[in-house]
Every structure is written in structure tokens, then in C-alpha cells.
């Protein structure tokens, strides 16, 4: 059983560009959450998707947007990249009722 898979694993973008990160949840999981982890800090909640709707959102600007597809996979889009967006982006999946939350290996984004 594959766990949470994310792509790409590493990428480098230039300021002002746009990026799309992808996540496939653990088999059978219907809820996907995205987190940003800057170097030396704990992960920060970006938003959560359930049944293709954004259900919760953290304190992130509108430049951060997402989508969930009917197969529960998800995308995170970041527009107008800033240097401060450089971080590890983690996708987490879970299933109602919510107990264990599984994290993917993450996507390392470097903005230059």
C-alpha cells in the first residue's frame, strides 16, 4: 500500500514565477492537508481539502491556492513566488474519523 506521495521532490523557481505541487493521498484517504515548513521551524498549516472543497485555511495569502480532484489527489499552487516561499511543502492525508495523519516526503521549493 503506497503511502502519501508527492511530486516533484525538489524544484527551483525564480521570484515572480508560479509553481504547482502535487499530492496523492494514502489509499482510501479522503482528506488532504498542506503544510509549509521553513528551515528550522515547525510545519505551518496552509489549507485542507475534503470532497473537493477547501474546508479550512491557515494564515496564508491568496497567492496560495489549491484543488482536490475526484480521486482525492490534490494540488497546491503558489503564484508570484517570493524568496520567503522557499520551504519544504508537506502533504498530509487522513480518513474520517480522524486518528493517524500520514505525511508525504515533501516537495523542497527553492525560490531564487
Amino acid at each position: 500500500d503506497a503511502g502519501v506521495t508527492q511530486s516533484p521532490t525538489h524544484l527551483i523557481k525564480t521570484r515572480g514565477q508560479q509553481v504547482t505541487l502535487r499530492c496523492s493521498p494514502k489509499s482510501g484517504h479522503d482528506t488532504v492537508s498542506w503544510y509549509q515548513q521553513a528551515l528550522g521551524q515547525g510545519p505551518q498549516f496552509i489549507f485542507q481539502y475534503y470532497e473537493e472543497e477547501e474546508r479550512q485555511r491557515g494564515n496564508f495569502p491568496d497567492r496560495f491556492s489549491g484543488h482536490q480532484f475526484p480521486n482525492y489527489s490534490s494540488e497546491l499552487n503558489v503564484n508570484a513566488l517570493l524568496l520567503g516561499d522557499s520551504a519544504l511543502y508537506l502533504c498530509a492525508s487522513s480518513l474520517e474519523p480522524r486518528n493517524t495523519i500520514y505525511f508525504g516526503e515533501g516537495s523542497w521549493l527553492t525560490v531564487v
Binding site: 521551524q41 515547525g42 498549516f45 479550512q56 508537506l90 498530509a92 480522524r98 505525511f103 508525504g104 515533501g106
Partner: protein
Amino acid sequence: ELKVEQNPLFLSMQEGKNYTIYCNYSTTSDRLYWYRQDPGKSLESLFVLLSNGAVKQEGRLMASLDTKARLSTLHITAAVHDLSATYFCAVDGIWGGATNKLIFGTGTLLAVQP
């Protein structure tokens, strides 16, 4: 706003010694998670604590939850070098019950010295 604090932020300990990491949180929650993160890696789930008084143990690690005190502890027994990593606690954010919106602590960097 829910806040989660861990202490210490950095812990250097000798192999064979015991120590405890503390996780305090600011508002009511009965769902707390502990994760381990190795350098450059993702988060590995260690424990999920779901009720007051919950205690879970796995190998040299034992976690407990006191919801009245809003405190969780991660106790390390007879540390070994392989336990060196960053440990995070995370609390389920409040939104009508369990939400899987996790608020993470600051992390504790554990370095076990031979």
C-alpha cells in the same frame, strides 16, 4: 489562537540517560500527536494521544497526555544515538471537534552523544 510550545528547544544527552520533552498548548484539545523528523526528511508518526490520561509506549519512547493541564510529555529512556532527530508535538486545531488541522510546536532537536 491555539499555541503550542515545546521545551527544551535543544537537548544534548548522553547515551543511556533518561530525559523528558514537554509540550504545552494553550486551549482545550484532547487530540495530540508526536512526530519525529530526521534531517531533510518528512514527518514520521510516533504517537496519537486521544484522551486525558492516555499513555503510549514504543521502544524507548513513552508519551502521555494530561488534557486538564494542557500538557503532553515524551519520555526517553536509556537514550541511544539512533534517537537523534527533531521531535514535534502537534495539537488538533479547534473547529467543532477533531479537524486534522494540526498546530505544531517549535520542535525539540535531540542529539544523543556516545
